[in-house]
């Protein structure tokens, strides 16, 4: 019963999350969509995914062709790690992305590097590796669609997408 009510609650939140999280994709592409809680809850509640996404920041950005983490990125990931250490009910998939400059194949590999850089940092801050998956979307899922650096800089990203209910 407990599990069922939890799923029902999450399902409701998913509907809300659809409009608050621009990084959620079509159903088959989203990992554990039924359990997804990205962006849900109130930003004022520090235990909520909304707080994780908006107050802490769910994404870090990268320089062209690079996967090393800037000071700013490390600060965000440190805060993400703290949150994950406190909210142990959540696991996460880190999605690596690239801008459209570059071939499809290279960008897939580059996105994998970026996602892994973020994952390794979270692990170095104490988050169990078993809670962290990675996936690369290469240049397949830009969030900004202009063909300028203003957009490219936001597309070169690693996004930590929370999923709940995976720990028992």
């Amino acid at each position: 019963m407990k599990v069922l009510s939890k799923i029902a609650a999450v399902a409701t939140l998913v509907a809300l999350a659809a409009c608050t999280n621009p990084d959620r994709f079509g159903s088959d592409d989203a990992v554990n969509l039924n359990n997804s809680a990205g962006g849900s809850g109130l930003v004022s509640d520090p235990t909520s995914p909304a707080y994780f996404q908006q107050a802490i920041g769910d994404r870090v950005l990268f320089a062209v062709d690079q996967s090393n983490l800037s000071d700013e990125a490390q600060a965000i990931l440190s805060a993400q790690a703290q949150w994950l250490l406190t909210n142990t009910d959540y696991s996460a998939t880190i999605e690596g992305h690239a801008d459209e400059q570059g071939t499809r194949e290279y960008n897939l590999a580059l996105g994998a590097r970026r996602a892994n850089a973020a994952r390794e940092f979270l692990i170095s801050r104490g988050v169990a590796g078993t809670r962290l998956k990675t996936v690369s979307y290469g240049k397949e899922r830009p969030i900004e669609i202009c063909s300028d650096e203003a957009c490219y800089s936001k597309n070169r990203r690693a996004v930590t997408v929370l999923a709940s209910g995976l720990t028992s």
Binding site: E100, G102, E105, Y106, L108, I143, E144, I145
Partner: protein, 439 residues
């Protein structure tokens, strides 16, 4: 589901042909020097009975479109004709065709019996006043009428250029719809010229970069079905697909068949690092070919299967390398300015097509297998992903336009850089893979 793939049986028969002395046959030598396309007349084929009239006209149109589309021929419009071809077996009035400067003339006939078409054709060297080669006859079902037209065009192309044709072939590609940030992708198959588009997957998952098997019966591609990129294999005739490669915690992509069709060569990312692997399709047994912290991806076999060309950023930027098919030491072959990717070995073995990115522009280019004689064929905001025509003369690729309403579509260009033309598809298109010439 895909009727034209399975039901069409085309039989070719040599027609008894009049014997002519062949002096100085009509000939195009494909090289850098061709500027002027050869003038050609393709009058509507002669229908054997009223029921065949529409087929007779349409088949001639497809033959003409194939040949002019190659950039090597120019069609003389029927309004310029002095005489009409009303009988397939009547003597050709060479003077009438010579007067309008038709150097080559294709005549044909079409008969229809039930759902079976029989197409006969002859190719004439107008100025020599002789038949070039022998008459040929193709028979098949009506749903394969375009294939019969392509076969006629292939025979004409082959007789005049001395090289294999490429018209009776298909292309699998990614059909794209929707805006850039919500693009929907699904696999589709079509004739090489964009006709007969049929969809092979739905668009519920991202699909990328299909690759034909050497015999055209199967396609490898990458799909996000299940949430992670994994390599799938699809039986083209039965439209059945399955996951080929799946390993927990990894992503696999950029697959390519070996020339014998038994092995898949691909990239696998694990712990953020991407290397090259092979897997035997029947046994599932895999081998690791590279082991470096750099990115190794976009591999392609030489036609004899002995070597692999691939893309790596081990030098700091993406460049092209060649190594033995079993792995080991690799030689860098790209040394020009910029970044190189997606190398594809030509079916003739002599050239490697690639994507090049330099100074904010993308190019499709070709180079010899030792990296010499680099030649850029195109330039645009974003060109990528070349695939070779079966005869190694034409390259099809993806062109994506710039900006928020950017759209991907297919283009082809010949390896001299001439004859750049769009390949029309119902929606956007990307990642073409060209089949071998059909049997």
């Amino acid at each position: 589901m895909i009727r034209f793939l399975t039901s069409l049986l085309v039989g070719a028969t040599l027609l008894a042909a009049p014997v002519h002395a062949q002096n100085q046959p009509l000939r195009i030598t494909i090289d850098e020097g061709i500027i002027e396309p050869l003038p050609l007349a393709v009058p509507n084929f002669v229908p054997d009975g009223a029921a065949a009239t529409e087929y007779a006209a349409q088949i001639a149109r497809v033959v003409a479109a194939d040949l002019t589309g190659s950039g090597l021929f120019r069609e003389i419009p029927s309004t310029a004709y002095i005489s009409q071809v009303t009988s397939f077996d009547a003597p050709v009035q060479f003077a009438d065709w010579k007067a309008i400067n038709a150097q080559a003339l294709v005549t044909g006939s079409v008969s229809l019996s039930g759902d079976r078409l029989t197409v006969r054709f002859r190719l004439w060297d107008v100025f020599a006043g002789t038949e070039l080669g022998s008459g040929l006859q193709f028979a098949g079902t009506t749903d394969g009428w375009r294939r019969m037209a392509h076969k006629v065009a292939d025979a004409v192309y082959s007789r005049i250029t001395g090289e294999g044709g490429y018209f009776d072939s298909r292309v699998v590609f990614v059909s794209e719809s929707g805006p850039k940030d919500q693009r929907r992708k699904r696999l589709a198959i079509m004739d090489y010229d964009g006709a007969n588009v049929q969809y092979l997957t739905d668009s519920s998952s991202i699909v990328l970069a299909p690759r034909f098997s050497p015999t055209g019966d199967r396609v490898l591609y990458t799909s996000y079905q299940g949430g992670f990129p994994r390599i799938h294999i699809l039986d083209v005739g039965r439209v059945e697909q399955r996951v080929l490669q799946s390993q927990e915690g990894t992503m696999s992509f950029a697959p390519r068949f070996s020339p014998d069709g038994q092995t898949v060569l691909f990239s696998l990312s694990q712990g953020g690092n991407t290397d090259l692997y092979t897997m035997n399709i029947a046994s599932g047994q895999s081998a690791r070919l590279t082991s470096a912290p750099s990115i190794e991806t976009a591999p392609s076999y030489s036609p004899d299967g002995s070597r692999i060309v691939f893309e790596s950023d081990r030098s700091g930027t993406p460049q092209l390398y060649i190594m033995s098919a079993s792995g080991g030491e690799a030689q860098r072959i790209s040394f020009g300015q910029g970044r190189y990717g997606t190398p594809v070995w030509s079916p003739r073995g002599d050239l490697i097509a690639f994507t090049k990115q330099n100074k904010g522009r993308f190019h499709i280019g070709v180079m010899r297998t030792d990296g010499s004689e680099e030649r850029l064929l195109t330039a645009s905001f974003l060109d990528e992903g070349p695939t070779w025509s079966p005869n190694g003369r034409v390259i099809m690729f993806t062109r994506e336009t710039q900006g928020a309403d950017g759209r991907a579509s297919l283009y082809s260009v010949d390896i001299s850089g001439r004859n750049l033309r769009p390949v029309r598809t119902p929606d956007g298109g990307s990642d073409p893979t060209w089949s071998p010439l059909l049997e």
